[in-house]
Symmetry: C2
Subunit: 172 residues, 2 copies
DNA sequence: TGGGGGTGGTTGCACACGCAATCACACCGC
DNA sequence: GCGGTGTGATTGCGTGTGCAACCACCCCCA
């Protein structure tokens, strides 16, 4: 269609075609959808092939490893890995069944549970980490210049109002 | 490769820590994951609430509408909306059951099917389009400057080697 | 003209996920 | 201390999806 050309620079919104995105917007938006789908699939397949570990499991192990005490509350973990609480419950079930993590009850709040990394889980993570990081770098990071990454990171935070990540120990 | 050379990192990190991403990389990478998850969920909920239409269905209707003859081959449609062929089959089943699209057999290739928009589907799409576009703009596009969108679009294409989108009619 | 390899689409099956209901417990006011 | 309200985690259920097997068909070549 000929209605491209969004003349006004920088300024958000002004005389736009009401019923479709112009070429530039389309590339930026659908590009992200495509990149996300392609990359997560590729990274997942890679991880699964080389370490028998789905991406979602890997992310759980990774965040547990990075957390202090190598443990996190179920809820915090759920939001961190972008999953519903129920979804995380099942995922943790599987990982516990495989011996990679364990549940600990929280002494100061009997409702709560910690997920904690087992030595086995730690080993699996160590093995997989290099693979995943190499994948993220080669498929994503390496395609951007350093300043672009800065800009990108800043932009993402602009889009997401309140996303601080400081779960905190909370439980002695 | 001929891609943009990534200048030496400006940060205080020594080359690259082998086992974790630095803050900048992390923000750029995980930011995208978060933004994607948040936005697709929000857009889907919005569409579902206001028009009773899941995002995936909307995308099918939209691409059909934009295609010439308002019809596409099942396979082309599948790749366009980023779904497996089987996934698309079921999705089209649902949409056909709801009367929004119809299957046409392809006269020149008896294996093939077209999905075509029905008048009902077209109406539903028209109703939903404004909502979705407004959502994409307000949640995503408006947070970037015009040049950023250019850069972003170009970057996405750098990441995805061969992703041209020219389905073509193919069947007279 | 007949067979073999390749392709478009559908189906069987398994599975991961979200939502809503549920349970156990914490916290607060009285 | 004792209910009422809120929260962390789990479970029942429905559903959307991918993979692999499958069928029907096209195309090519002998």
């Amino acid at each position: 269609m000929a209605t491209t050309a969004k003349p006004t620079p920088a300024g958000p919104d002004e005389g736009r075609p009401a019923d479709r995105l112009d070429e530039r917007d389309l590339r930026a938006w659908r590009g992200m959808l495509r990149v996300h789908a392609t990359l997560t699939k590729a990274l997942d397949a890679e991880l699964e092939a080389e370490h028998g570990l789905p991406l979602s499991s890997y992310e759980v192990l990774m965040h547990l490893h990075d957390a202090e005490g190598q443990r996190m509350r179920m809820s915090d973990l759920a939001t961190t890995v972008i999953l519903s609480r129920s979804g995380l419950t099942r995922l943790v079930d599987r990982l516990e069944r495989d011996g990679l993590i364990e549940r600990q009850s929280c002494p100061s709040d009997a409702r709560g549970s910690f997920a904690t990394l087992t030595p086995d889980g730690s080993r699996r993570l160590q093995a997989a980490r290099a693979t995943h990081l190499a994948g993220v770098r080669s498929l994503f990071l390496d395609h951007f210049a350093a300043e672009e990454l800065e800009v990108l990171g800043a932009a993402w935070e602009r889009l997401l109002p309140g996303v601080a990540h400081a779960p905190g120990p909370g439980c002695s």
